[in-house]
């Protein structure tokens, strides 16, 4: 396939992917997806949040996990950046600290796919720091 250069190319490629069922239906209910939030304030970005976000996107695509990756501002855990909050359907949110590419993959493999907790979880905190 040639490179995508125009909106028409984009439309054609999307139709091809749709036929092979590789694209989520637009009627998807967001609450049925795993919600992954990457903290992307100055503290997070300076600590590598963008690399982590790209790694999560890549991993989710590879494992075909029904998830959406979004960004959020500073959650107050500047000392532990990059931080990632994962909310699985029916579960409370869990915040992982000091996430790098390796840990991002571990979060998908162990927590999201196998319900296994991993090191570096920040306990729930109802007060701002």
């Amino acid at each position: 396939m040639t490179k995508i250069k125009s909106l028409d190319d984009l439309r054609q490629k999307k139709q091809q992917l749709e036929q092979s069922m590789e694209i989520r239906e637009k009627s998807d209910h967001p609450e049925s997806l795993v919600q992954i939030k990457v903290a992307m304030a100055t503290c997070g970005i300076a600590s590598g949040a963008r690399t982590v976000m790209n790694a999560l996107v890549e991993k989710i695509k590879k494992e075909n996990v029904p998830a959406v990756v979004t960004q959020t501002g500073c959650m107050g855990y500047c000392y532990a950046e990059p931080t990632v909050e994962v909310t699985k359907p029916g579960f409370d949110p869990v915040v992982f600290s000091y996430v790098d590419v390796k840990k991002a993959e571990e979060i998908v493999d162990k927590y999201i796919l196998n319900n296994e907790l991993i090191d570096g979880i920040i306990p729930p905190n109802y007060q701002t720091i």
Partner: protein
């Protein structure tokens, strides 16, 4: 911050925190006239004069999660050390426009970085916000908006991993074309 695209991600986060629903990002690379500008314009809640004056003070922030706000001061420092400057125009209730200008060939100017990837991450991570992106290289420019993308993709989710990859490829191809055509 290793490159300017990281500053871009950071500044756009401020627009999102200000409740913006439409954000315009403009990057203008102009080696001929020796400047590079990066601007972010939003329709968020804007700032009053007092907030605007304190904007470059690292110990001022409107957030409650922490007591420092380093995004704008860091960008101002980067711009000024690269022979440029930072300008912010804001009106309460109307929005804010931040423009950082750099001397293109200054030794201390950080590289632009992967702006296409930054745009795709911002677009996919904020489905409720519309973005416009304009990239210029000397006199030629390329422009894309999320409205055009949604139309072309017939409403398919822009945060689908396959779609994100396709959009990034399209933006990069067009940006590279602008540069290739103008190598002197």
């Amino acid at each position: 911050m290793n490159d300017l695209s990281l500053h871009l991600l950071d500044i756009v986060q401020n627009s999102l925190a200000a409740g913006a629903t439409f954000i315009t990002v403009r990057i203008e690379e102009n080696p001929r006239k020796n400047f590079l500008t990066m601007s972010v314009e939003d329709n968020g809640c804007g700032m009053n004069d007092e907030q605007l004056q304190k904007l470059s003070d690292p110990f001022f922030t409107s957030r409650t999660t922490r007591r420092v706000g380093l995004g704008v001061p860091l960008l101002r420092q980067t711009a000024e050390q690269s022979g440029g400057k930072l300008e912010v125009v804001s009106r309460p209730g109307k929005g804010t426009c931040l423009t950082a200008r750099f001397q293109y060939d200054h030794l201390d100017r950080p590289p632009l970085g992967d702006v296409a990837n930054a745009m795709v991450l911002m677009i996919s991570a904020n489905p409720g916000v519309d973005f416009a992106y304009k990239y210029s290289y000397n006199e030629n420019s390329y422009e894309i908006t999320t409205l055009q993308l949604r139309d072309a993709l017939d409403g398919a989710p822009l945060n689908d991993m396959n779609i994100m990859e396709m959009i990034e490829e399209m933006i990069k191809e067009n940006q590279n074309d602008l540069k290739v055509c103008q190598i002197e």
